[in-house]
């Protein structure tokens, strides 16, 4: 196993490789966070509460988990701020609102302001609708008994908290960001594993490969140990980036991290065998380093690492079925939407097929030992 251990050591010592492995995805993710931050990650809710009952207070408080609440006691101001995009949503609670709910009157309504129904404001809008709808039902049921009404609303609110994360909340926006981040992880996995594979070409160039071949170690063992080390480092990369996404950037990693990891593991197999194919088909590390971006970038773009595949034309979408990145991102999207592992078997199988094909490509051309 010494080739394996030394290979890991050499990868971790290589600044260029660390760059493509960790720094590149972090830079990209940070960049998207900054660009999309205003619209998606930061969610400002402006509230003008002219009623001021404990019902409206509780209601506003319950919104805190969904965005930053800003008290703005002026409807005009709210509208202005929505237009200049410092608020993503605002609403006005008219005086006597609580009373009218309890009395079963439909006269007073909350006025919700937003620019349009963006992906991110829809869930909050829905939440508000649901909350108030429930309150009305409770009021009907308790026949205007104030104590019972408050107890009922509290009960409803607690129930909501319990199922938070599964219910409609602002997950949609989160998912877009997470998917974006995953796209960059996928890209950097491809870049990293193919540049790691050039280590073998390096060995050929600096003739240590020659020495290895004259030693008792079998060529097969040397290759496998190298590939295994690339695989292990790729897992470290996945782990590091996922931790960063969830812990530092507070991204929503969806309901099943395990399924994500399974998918990414399958994709790392694709990456390793892709790198192996690439290096065994290229003459030397210089040729390989030209080929890497030439092959990886189209895969990354077609597969939807930078933008949703939907925005591409039908032809391109059809073409994109022939790159593995499409399938890993499809799978990730499904997992983020809470679909079970059975829903991603197609993606998993296709990814495994890709790695088999690449692996065969890599072993196809037997490299001349002493060339």
């Amino acid at each position: 196993m010494m080739v394996f251990i030394y290979s890991i050591k050499r990868i971790l010592r290589d600044k260029g490789m660390l760059l493509s492995m960790i720094v590149l995805p972090i830079a990209f993710i940070t960049l998207t966070m900054i660009i999309s931050g205003d619209g998606e990650y930061i969610f400002n809710i402006g509230v003008a509460d002219f009623d001021g009952t404990s019902f409206t207070e509780d209601f506003i408080k319950s919104l805190e988990s969904r965005g930053t609440i800003l008290r703005i006691e002026d409807e005009k101001e709210i509208q202005r701020k929505i237009i200049d995009n410092s608020l993503q949503l605002g609403f006005v609670i008219p005086q006597g609102f609580t009373r009218s709910i309890m009395d079963n009157e439909s006269a007073a309504e909350i006025k919700v302001h937003r620019i349009n129904e963006t992906d991110v404001s829809v869930p909050v809008g829905l939440y508000i609708e649901n909350y108030l709808g429930a309150a009305k039902h409770i009021a009907e049921t308790v026949n205007g008994n104030e104590d019972d009404f408050y107890r009922g609303v509290e009960y409803y609110r607690n129930g909501l908290n319990g199922i938070e994360g599964l219910s409609i909340d602002n997950e949609t926006g989160d998912r877009i960001i997470t998917l974006n981040g995953m796209g960059f992880l996928v890209m950097s996995m491809l870049f990293f594993s193919s540049s790691a594979a050039t280590l073998i070409l390096e060995d050929k160039k600096n003739k240590t490969f020659y020495r290895v071949l004259s030693s008792p170690l079998k060529l097969k063992s040397y290759m496998l140990q190298n590939l295994l080390s690339f695989l292990v480092v790729t897992q470290l990369q996945i782990l590091a980036i996922m931790l960063l996404m969830s812990q530092v950037f507070k991204m929503n990693m969806g309901p099943s991290i395990i399924n994500l990891i399974i998918l990414l593991f399958a994709f790392s197999l694709v990456c390793i065998s892709f790198g192996n194919a690439l290096t065994s088909l290229s003459k030397d590390s210089r040729q390989a380093s030209v080929l890497i971006p030439l092959l990886v970038m189209p895969m990354v773009m077609l597969g939807g690492c930078f933008w949703p595949r939907d925005i591409m034309g039908a032809t391109l979408q059809r073409v994109s079925n022939f790159v593995p990145t499409t399938w890993i991102l499809k799978g990730i999207e499904k997992v983020l939407h809470g679909q079970p592992i059975t829903a991603i078997t197609t993606e998993l199988i296709i990814l495994i097929l890709f790695s088999v094909v690449f692996f065969l490509l890599g072993t196809w051309k037997k490299s001349e030992v002493t060339a």
Binding site: R211, P216, T370
Partner: protein, 310 residues
């Protein structure tokens, strides 16, 4: 017999890189393989190591068939490749450690042997440095350190002294002798005649893939001890000079290299004055004259008509 090669032929398409070579190397020898660029030395070594397939003939190492005993044979060989074969991104110590482990060394023995190899090649103080900080000679020494820590029965050194300073070269030659005394059989290829003369007990000279002479140093020298060799430095050269000198009785060979004329005559030919007359008769001034003792360099020149370092 450590190595026994019979009628070996290796072709690269049209090119005959090894042409019907037979040789045997006994235990405890320092076997010199001498030949100019492209003679086929490295190709021959690659076939011994099983790295290059050959077309005809047979190779036995440690009296075993290579294919059947590949693992056992390879374990007992240390190779110092012609091109530096070291990891630039590993320290000197790690380089030796890497190859030590490759040859199955472990634990304390491994540590001991690494220190030994580093001491042996004078790299002990630089063991924590990366090779990119090394001079050419130090890299060459590391290249050797990586080949000897497993105390191989057979050490193959393919031009280990190419392009280095005299001091490092001296150190390497000394270490070859030491390794040999410690019990290793050594195959040493070179195109430096002096090196081979200094350290090798048996010498084979090859050119164009063919063996053109072999024997002990003494035997090879005796081959030309029957000859008288004269070199004459000339002030100018003349068109017919070589041909005319060849016509003189007793002259076996005459070669002109730049302004230097080499004349080889049969022993006791007594034709020196006639040679001088011939030169003088063409109006050429003699700037120097040297009657040579036989050297291996001379053998090569005689046998191939070329100087070794062409």
């Amino acid at each position: 017999m450590v190595v026994n090669i019979k009628n070996l032929v290796k072709r690269y398409n049209e090119l005959l890189a090894v042409d019907n070579v037979s040789l045997s190397i006994k235990e405890g020898e320092i076997f010199g393989l001498l030949g100019p660029n492209g003679a086929g030395k490295t190709t021959l070594i690659n076939t011994i190591l099983g790295l290059t397939r050959f077309d005809e003939g047979s190779i036995e190492i440690f009296e075993k068939d290579f294919k059947k005993h590949e693992y056992d044979i390879k374990k007992e060989i240390g190779i110092v490749p012609q091109d530096l074969a070291i990891f630039e991104d590993l320290t000197a110590y790690e380089n030796v450690d890497y190859f030590g482990r490759l040859y199955g060394l472990k634990g304390n023995l491994l540590k001991e042997r690494i220190e030994e190899a580093l001491n042996f090649t004078g790299l002990q103080e630089r063991k924590k440095d990366f090779p990119k900080k090394f001079s050419g000679g130090m890299k060459r020494r590391l290249n050797i350190a990586c080949a000897i820590m497993h105390h191989p029965k057979l050490i193959i050194m393919d031009e280990p002294t190419v392009g280095i300073d005299p001091q490092s070269r001296k150190m390497i030659l000394e270490s070859v002798k030491k390794l040999n005394k410690m019990g290793s059989t050594v195959i040493y290829t070179s195109h430096y005649m002096e090196e081979v003369e200094e350290i090798c007990s048996n010498i084979t000279i090859i050119d164009h893939g063919r063996i053109i002479a072999k024997g002990t140093k003494e035997e090879l020298k005796a081959m030309i001890a029957f000859e008288e060799r004269v070199t004459i430095q000339l002030s100018a050269i003349s068109f017919n000079l070589v041909d005319d000198i060849k016509k003189i009785d007793g002259v076996k060979e005459c070669l002109l290299q730049e302004n230097e004329l080499l004349v080889v005559s049969v022993r006791g030919a007594g034709n020196l004055s006639r040679i001088i007359d011939e030169v003088g008769g063409k109006g050429i001034e003699i700037k120097g004259l040297n009657i040579e003792k036989p050297t291996l360099e001379g053998i090569f020149l005689i046998l191939t008509g070329r100087s070794l370092r062409d």
